[in-house]
């Protein structure tokens, strides 16, 4: 579950304690999905991207524990990104090795800062939106269809009438559900954005 109660700063303080499981879980939930997304955007497969994100986190933890992370020196995201870029480059290299075996020349390299930073922004937004909708799905009852209605409208690009017909509702019901969910989402998204902003 996404923990909205703590800012990343409080979280980071919690990370000094290895046994502070909650802090670790929150940190993990907050940044690993973004890093996986960034790695995928940089061309890695899902599995490789997951590996790269895990390794990045491991390195981060190590350096963090050794007090190598200086809050005044740089933002959390650039620190994570620096590690991630190296890891992605490592995966490129590994892939290059595989390709060479197959007789294909593959040129690897380290992805540039701008590309990774842009990818971060996109992925961060994407992660936040997905977290928001997950949060809503999680707290709503099985019988509550409004999130589902919202998804039908959003994902499948369907008209309100169309959705209403399928579910046996009126178009008014669908509009109301849409407006309710949008409003809730807006709140949750803002809340999550704040949590991330506190550090970045």
């Amino acid at each position: 579950m996404l923990d909205l109660t703590r800012t990343t700063t409080a979280l980071l303080n919690g990370l000094h304690d290895v046994d502070n499981a909650e802090a670790w879980a929150s940190f993990y939930g907050r940044y690993v999905p973004i890093m996986i997304g960034v790695a995928r955007r940089l061309g890695l497969s899902e599995a490789d991207a997951q590996d790269a994100a895990q390794e990045t986190l491991a390195t981060f933890v190590k350096e963090y524990r050794e007090n190598k992370y200086d809050r005044d020196r740089g933002r959390l995201r650039s620190w994570l990104l620096t590690i991630l870029r190296t890891r992605v480059a490592g995966q490129y290299r590994a892939r290059a090795v595989r390709k060479e075996q197959q007789g294909v020349t593959f040129v690897g390299g380290v992805p540039d800062e701008k590309t990774t930073s842009d990818a971060w922004d996109v992925e961060r937004r994407r992660t936040i939106l997905l977290q928001a909708i997950d949060e809503l799905r999680k707290v709503s009852k099985t019988s509550d269809q409004s999130v589902h209605i919202f998804e039908m409208l959003a994902r499948d690009n369907r008209s309100a009438q169309d959705v209403a017909d399928e579910l046996g509702l009126t178009a008014q019901d669908v509009y109301r559900a849409k407006s309710r969910v949008t409003q809730r989402l807006r709140e949750v998204v803002t809340k999550i954005e704040h949590v991330y902003d506190a550090e970045e």
Partner: protein, 771 residues
């Protein structure tokens, strides 16, 4: 970043969500799939293994929930068969609090699905939070309501257990509460058979699940998992419902740390977090959360009955023999840290407002160690009802962190007072294997002692010795050597050569020099230590066999396996007479002898000894020690070629654990990596093996071990992985390097042997590299 969402219209936001959701769907294309006979309606939940979708079964005209597994969730035919068998078993369960499974099958696109009763309601945790945690933690009355609700969950699990079905993945996400307040358990026996491997890499799910996993589930031995693992998970969930916190909070990012938490830390008492939790409930939870399955409730039915007793005020069996049991347990668990623990009490007193200054006035600072020592007895006899230290000890590291900062602030400028506290904190960290923190504290302690004019040289010697210990653990042998030498010099000068403390420094210096490969001096010191200890200690003192074990490890290192095994056998006889068979020292000695016998090719007795060692070590719970034995057994598996897949899993978990304790760039981790590489080679996965071998080389390169036989071995394994991948040209360099190093080591070994009192032994150094 701005709050983008504030500037967007509803439709913009809708469009943005639309894109994100489509992308997500596109990634696994699950929702485009079709299942004959069903109309898929809407997504209810998405997790690591798959998606749960509300659907309508056309033949029976009923709403159902479909769990659709993602591609690859069932990797092999065996997985698939097991999955189907489990579904079949689960489908036979009929209980009001167990979700009814209708059927399973395959979608048009070949994905596995399960169709089951659609439960209208909320997740257990959401339900509890909304109903009972709205105004802070639940009150006493609310706790009772939660427990009453929970009885049904326990009953459901008990029902399944009686029919031979273990859930294995009990967690809040798998328990729903219907609108009329009926809890329903989902995913019986299914969750874990469906590719738990894959599940582990999915972030949220993995974390969620891990918090509820019993310690034995994390040990990589699936055979050990039985109904008691479910009991543990039930305990975790109830604990969380009552306190809002997880008992040992394993929801950690690294597998190793999570495992460490679950296997090493006992839970805080629930009532310490929520005072509304009764003592009886406390005791029941504690018993449900026992790390050792044998100490836990054996069935969910027992747990249910005890909870029911707690509700009705009947006596709870979990509280029988409380005192004696706890005292014993404490001593067993904290054998390493017992002295540190004593010092800790001093620290706790300080932290709890017992003024540092007044305390120091009351007792001379130089007597701090004595004060600490006198507190050992009260700790061992601790009383569960009244005393707080158990609680403090449980959260030791956080407390130490605080105290460390505090001591710095309050005692700045008083090195004479600060130094002993730094030593105590450092040793406490060391006992917990928090090596980096321990090093910082012990360095600071030494610096402080050195800054004091006319400091007691014996105390100064201890400071050097203690710093040496942490450096040794960190494999910083060069630096450790300097500290031990200074400690030995000071102790010899001020305590005399035939002294117990002096012998200790000699022992440690011998081990350090052995680590560095300075074999001549190392052997001399080992022999000297044995001589001194025999001269000054009573025959039944465990330090004597302990030294024999140390010298045994030396003989092993230089390839004198036969002599080593004689020595270990002697030591084992002695130590089991002194300490009994279930003692950790005995286990450590059995381990040493076991490893020796592997080198001598006597696999059967070796396995026997190692199994026995592992059993005892598991009971005593020192993680590093246990890992060493696991690795030795894994090596045996490799040599005998038995259950390699499973062994690989174990070894990989060991690598994780070691790299979390010692760092990736540590010879201990490196050794495990070499073993991993060899297993991967044996399993015909040379590319993966190459990665492990390269990491191992990095681990060895980072330290002293550049020229050790381990490096030679790692290079040899690397060469082999390259050859098997058809990259012979690249293999030339590591192969040559391996050969050079191993020849050098062999020559050095020969020299050592010639120079010491030589008995004919076979040279085992080249043995580990298999063709």
């Amino acid at each position: 970043m701005d709050d983008v969402s504030l500037h967007l219209t509803d439709d913009d936001l809708l469009a943005e969500f639309g894109q994100v959701l489509r992308e997500q769907t596109g990634q696994d294309a699950v929702c485009d799939d079709r299942i004959p006979g069903y109309r898929l309606e809407r997504e209810l939940h998405r997790g690591g293994q798959g998606v749960v979708i509300a659907a309508y079964q056309q033949t029976t005209k009923r709403p159902v929930a479909i769990k659709l597994l993602l591609d690859g969730a069932l990797a092999s035919d065996a997985d698939r068969a097991r999955f189907e068998r489990e579904v079949e078993l689960a489908a036979q369960l009929r209980h009001p609090s167990i979700v009814t499974v209708h059927e399973s099958g395959t979608t048009r696109q070949g994905r596995q699905y399960i169709s089951m009763e659609l439960v209208d309601g909320s997740r257990f945790d959401a339900f509890v939070t909304e109903r009972f945690h709205a105004d802070g933690l639940p009150s006493e009355l609310q706790c009772r309501e939660i427990v009453r609700l929970y009885l049904a969950v326990c009953d459901a699990i008990e029902y399944a257990h009686r029919r031979g079905v273990i859930h294995r993945d009990i967690k809040p996400g798998n328990v729903m509460v219907t609108d009329d307040g009926r809890p329903v358990v989902l995913d019986f026996g299914i969750a874990k058979s469906a590719g738990s491997e894959r599940g582990t890499t999915k972030t949220g799910d993995f974390l969620g699940t891990l918090s509820y996993a019993a310690p034995e589930q994390l040990g990589g031995s699936p055979d050990l998992i039985d109904t008691r693992a479910d009991v543990y998970a039930l305990g975790v969930m109830l604990y969380e419902a009552l306190t809002g916190a997880r008992p040992s909070g394993s929801a950690d990012m690294s597998i190793a740390e999570a495992i460490h938490n679950v296997t090493q830390n006992d839970a805080r008492r629930a009532s310490a977090i929520n005072p509304a939790v009764s003592r009886d409930l406390d005791a029941v939870l504690r018993k449900a959360l026992e790390r050792n399955p044998a100490q836990r409730y054996q069935t969910a039915g027992q747990l249910r009955d005890e909870l029911s007793n707690a509700l009705t005020g009947k006596p709870v069996r979990a509280r029988e023999h409380e005192r004696a049991y706890l005292a014993k347990k404490y001593v067993v668990r904290h054998r390493v840290g017992i002295l540190a623990g004593a010092g800790l009490l001093t620290l706790v007193l300080i932290a709890s407002g017992f003024g540092v200054q007044s305390m120091i006035k009351a007792r001379q600072a130089s007597r701090f160690a004595d004060v600490a020592g006198s507190l050992v007895t009260p700790i061992a006899g601790i009383d569960y009802e009244t005393a707080t230290p158990v609680e403090e000890v449980r959260d030791l590291e956080g407390l130490l962190d605080q105290i460390s900062v505090d001591v710095g602030k309050r005692l700045d400028g008083y090195p004479r007072y600060e130094a002993p506290l730094r030593s105590t904190i450092g040793l406490a960290y060391l006992g917990m294997r928090k090596l980096v923190k321990a090093e910082v504290e012990l360095r600071e302690a030494l610096r402080l002692w050195q800054s004091i004019p006319r400091a007691n040289p014996v105390t100064l010697a201890s400071a050097h010795h203690d710093l040496g210990r942490v450096l040794w653990f960190l494999a910083e042998y060069d630096e450790a050597e300097l500290e031990y030498r200074e400690a030995l010099r000071l102790r010899t000068k001020h305590l005399g050569p035939e002294n117990i403390e002096t012998a200790r420094s000699a022992h440690h210096l011998a081990a350090t020099l052995q680590g560095k490969g300075a074999f001549n001096e190392s052997e001399h010191l080992w022999q000297e230590t044995i001589r001194i200890r025999r001269a000054i200690l009573p025959e039944s003192h465990p330090d004597i066999p302990n030294t024999l074990v140390g010298y045994g490890s030396f003989l092993q290192e230089v390839g004198r396996h036969a002599e080593a095994s004689d020595l270990y056998a002697d030591a084992l006889t002695m130590i089991s007479q002194i300490s009994g068979n279930d003692d950790w020292r005995t286990a450590r000695t059995s381990h040493g002898l076991g490893v020796c016998l592997i080198d001598l090719g006597e696999y059967a007795p070796a396995r026997d000894l190692l199994d026995r060692a592992l059993e005892v070590k598991l009971m005593h719970g020192d993680e590093y020690d246990t890992t060493r034995t696991r690795l030795a057994l894994a090596r045996l598996d490799l040599l005998e070629g038995v259950h390699l897949e499973q062994t690989l899993t174990t070894v990989s978990a060991c690598v994780e654990q070691l790299s979390s304790s010692f760092g990736l760039e540590h010879p201990n981790t490196g050794e495990a990596l070499v073993l991993e590489a060899r297993l991967l080679l044996a399993l015909d996965r040379p590319a993966d093996a190459e990665a492990s071998a390269r990491l191992a080389i990095v681990a060895f390169e980072s330290r002293w071990s550049n020229r050790s036989w381990r490096m030679g071995q790692a290079s040899g394994v690397l060469a082999q992985t390259l050859i098997e991948q058809g990259r012979a040209a690249e293999a030339v360099e590591p192969a040559a390097r391996s050969r050079t190093i191993l020849m050098d080591v062999r020559d050095a070994g020969d020299r050592v042997r010639r120079e010491s009192e030589d008995r004919a032994t076979r040279l085992g150094l080249l043995a580990p590299v298999r063709p």
